[in-house]
Structures are given as structure tokens and as C-alpha cells.
Symmetry: C2
Subunit: 305 residues, 2 copies
Amino acid sequence: MSKVLIVGSVAYDALRTPFGSVERALGGSATYSSIAASLFAPVAMVGVVGEDFRASDLALLRRKGIDTTGIRREKGRTFFWKGYYDGDMSVAHTVRTELNVFAGFDPVIHPAYRRTPFLFLANIHPALQESVLDQMKKPEYVVLDTMNLWIQTRRAALIRVLKRVDLAVLNDQEVRLLTGITSLSLAARKVRSWGPKTVIVKKGEHGALVVGSGWSFLTHAVPLERVVDPTGAGDSFAGGLVGYLASKGRVDARTLREGVVAGSLVASFTVQGFSVKALTGLTISRLKSRFEYFRGLSEIPRIRV
Amino acid sequence: MSKVLIVGSVAYDALRTPFGSVERALGGSATYSSIAASLFAPVAMVGVVGEDFRASDLALLRRKGIDTTGIRREKGRTFFWKGYYDGDMSVAHTVRTELNVFAGFDPVIHPAYRRTPFLFLANIHPALQESVLDQMKKPEYVVLDTMNLWIQTRRAALIRVLKRVDLAVLNDQEVRLLTGITSLSLAARKVRSWGPKTVIVKKGEHGALVVGSGWSFLTHAVPLERVVDPTGAGDSFAGGLVGYLASKGRVDARTLREGVVAGSLVASFTVQGFSVKALTGLTISRLKSRFEYFRGLSEIPRIRV
């Protein structure tokens, strides 16, 4: 069992989906991924919040066993995102983004955390991801997530930081945008050629494609009849995966495949509630029973020809 | 081992994809599905062609062991479709459709074929599908395919014929259009409530969802680096599936799951060449080795939690 350090955003989200709406609900890439990872391994979180950050939200993270020492409280307001989803739940429409204290985020890793073996660089500016990497002392395994914005505006910095990570997690649009290649497996190989030993292409409701060194893995998302709020699905997937890997303390093809399944399962819970509600209610026992359902659903029978 | 009767279109296609173009290439729903089914079981094909239909194309079908007695040659020209695919290979753009002899297609099932146990109603007007059903003598298993056009313009007739089939094969857009339900599993259940014991939702490059009586199955499409020509993928999938079912002579959940995998594998060959070129070159031995690759790629590992 190894520890995980997670650096990313902490946010308040106002959002509306066909199933309802919430105002100032806990969100952010570090939040979702840390709660997800905490299901499997000890997590320390690095982020910034404003004076408006609720004590109850900090308490929620701590109840999940998350070390919140690295969450700095700054003058001003917490990063705020307002958006909505309509028919197509795979597309988030942004109404407003207020960076607030996140605009000045400059993650400082306390010396006591610099030797954390598993590092997850959740979606933040690639230059900040690089700065975190510079502060770390030989992490065993580094995972990176990013977004369209950085691919479009900070491509060189992103490719520079990609060189230094073990696993890159991108969605289908991002990997196509980054490489200019339509075929997801060819695009993933292109990203691998820049550095990461393993590349995961998330395909939303269609699952994920994993391309490693001499192996690939294709997995489904757990099919759901009702996606209440898709926010944080990708972060939960990556966090669950990193937590799973850390819980095994090693990373080989088998553990990565298992981790991807674990991450998919975690994400399938996240989207069944608004904000972190369903995610925080998740237990290993509920995860296990969904795994059995999922395996029954997607096990490939041997054809008789 | 049972026989399969396949009723559908026979066409000449002129098409362009990013990988090249063909003029007057053999196509049509009955053509693709019959060649696919013939890999597993004896097939008899019912359709109509014009005076321009090449002897070499008839010979090709016969070489595949397909009984072409039911292909009528009429005065006029063969059904002609002209189209192209660009970046997104999942969308066919139609330039021109000339129904020609297909406009007067009124499938007559010769008495000798009315007791064929497996019937595949490939994509044609629902009223013609119904007429074929009326002529058949208690077929054991009836499979139906359709298209957007009939859902939009012949919905009542389509739902009437759906009541009388065992398995309906639709793509994701079609099942949403037909039911008005976004969730594919809920939409599939709605279609089941109209009659078919099993509903398959094809998701193109994302695989397929099968909803049966008390069971579901989720499968991937075989990932390909190069889709040369997607025409006929859906027909090949359905044809391969029906042929596989007929080869086992029975239909239960296990055989259906295997058949869906077999159909996906066949379709993965079809799209690797223009027209029926790659499909006709397919052998059981090549199918088997692709199955092993596919299984290795998508087998779900047991998570250790």
C-alpha cells in the first residue's frame, strides 16, 4: 500500500442537469479524484480554496481519510464554475468561470510530501504540473490529466510535462486534438512516443482504451439508465485508478487493467448523484457488487467455430 | 445446422472515402448480410437486380455457397447508391439514390423456401418485411433490421412488423428516434415491450448492447487503425450473427452472445476493404485469430478489493 499525492482544483459548482440543479456544490478535479482514490489508498491533497470554503466540506474530505494539510486557504473566493448539461450529457456547457483564488494557485509541496510514491497531476495548467514535478523527489509513478484548453493554448508546455509522466489520461477529443490523429489507438501511440509508458483514452459512456508497452485494453463504461450529473466522472475515473494502483504498490499491465476497471466503476457511482454526493456514499462492498454485475454484462464468450 | 433466408437490397454503390473510391461496386443489405452469414451456415438470398447486374457478381455470391435462386432479374437498372464518407466514418453522406428496379421490389418467397427456419429481414420497407413474414410457414427465428427512413415515414408499419420478430437490430440513433428515449438500455426495453424477445443496439465503433429476457450483454467493436469503407458494416454484423445462430440451430442467451461477437468480428473485416472485397476474403481461420486478439484486448480482469 503506497500513498498518493493529488494536485488539482477545488471548486464550487453551480450546475443544472435534466434531473435538477445545485448551487455552490463541492467540485474540482482534486476533490473528485481525491475522494475516489481514498477508497483504495491514503491520499494527501494539494489545492487552494477561498475564505468562503465551508468547514463542512473540509470535514467531508477528512472523513474520507484525506490529508488536507496541503489545501491552502487564501484571501478571496473559491474557484467557481457555473454550467449546465442538456440532452447530451457528455457535453458540459459553461455559463461562467470565476478563477478567484485559483488564478494565483502556485502549488507548493511541503517537504514532508515530496517523497510520496504516487503522484496524480489532475487537470491544471501544465506549467504548474511541471512545477510540482520539479519539487518532487523521485516519485515512483506519475499520472497526468489535462484538458482541451491547455492543448490549445499551452501545447509545448504540456508536451514537455508529458515527457516526465508514466501515465497520461486524456479523453477522445483531447487525444485527437493533441495529435491530429483520428484513430484513437494510433493517437495514443503517438502520445506514448512523447514519453508516457501508458496512455488511457477515455471515451465517456463508451468506456476507455488503454495503450501500454506491447499491450492494449479496451473496457466499457458501466451502462447506466440515469446519469444525474456527469461532472467529475473523468476525475473520479483517474482518481480511482491511481488509488487502486497505489493500493497494490506496483504497476504492471495486469494491475493497470484492474485499475482501469476500478476507476470506471467508481465513476459510474459519481454520475448517479449531484456533486460528490453519490461518490462519498460509495463503499468497497457496493463497488464489488457492481463489479460482478459489470463482469456478467461484458464477459466475452468463446465463439465455437 | 439450420438454413437462413435473407431478404433485402442488392445494389451497386459508387462511393468515396479518405482511402479511395469505387464506382458500381457490389453492395446492398442482402448482399453484405448473405456473404457474412454464409461463413457459418447455408444461405438463400431474395432480392432484385437489373439487366446491368454483372454475371461476375452473381458468380461471386455462388462461390460463397449462397443460393441465388431468389434473386430476380428485372428490366431496368440495379438499385444505385452514390455517397461518400469524410472525417467521421460513422456518417454516410448520400449524393444520389436511384431505386431503379428496387422501386418495384415485391419479394415473392418460392414455396420451397417458406419453411426456412432462420429468416433475416434486412433493411427494406416494413410493408415488404411484413409481406415476407406472411408468406413464411412458421419460421423458427426471425431477425429484423431497419433504418431511419422507415422510422420517420413508416413508424406504424414498422411497429406492426416488430411484433412478429424475435430479434430486432437497430443502431443507437434509430432506437432513440423510434422510442424517444435517450438511455439505450431503456430504449431497448421499450422496443422489447412491442414484441422482440431480444433487441440489439449497434453503436458503430463503440460496439453493441444486447438486451434479452432477464439478461444484457455489452460488447466492443474490434478497434481498427484504418477503416477503409464502413459501408455494409451493420449488414455484415447482422448477417454474421444470424448465420452464427443458424449454425448452432438454436437460440439461447449464450448463443446470442457468441453470435454478437461473431458478427462484430465479421464486420471488422468488412470495413477494412472497399465494397465486399475484404468480407469475401474472410475465412474461419482468420476469424478465429482475430477473436483471440479481441478477447485478449477486452477480457475484464477480476479486481482485488
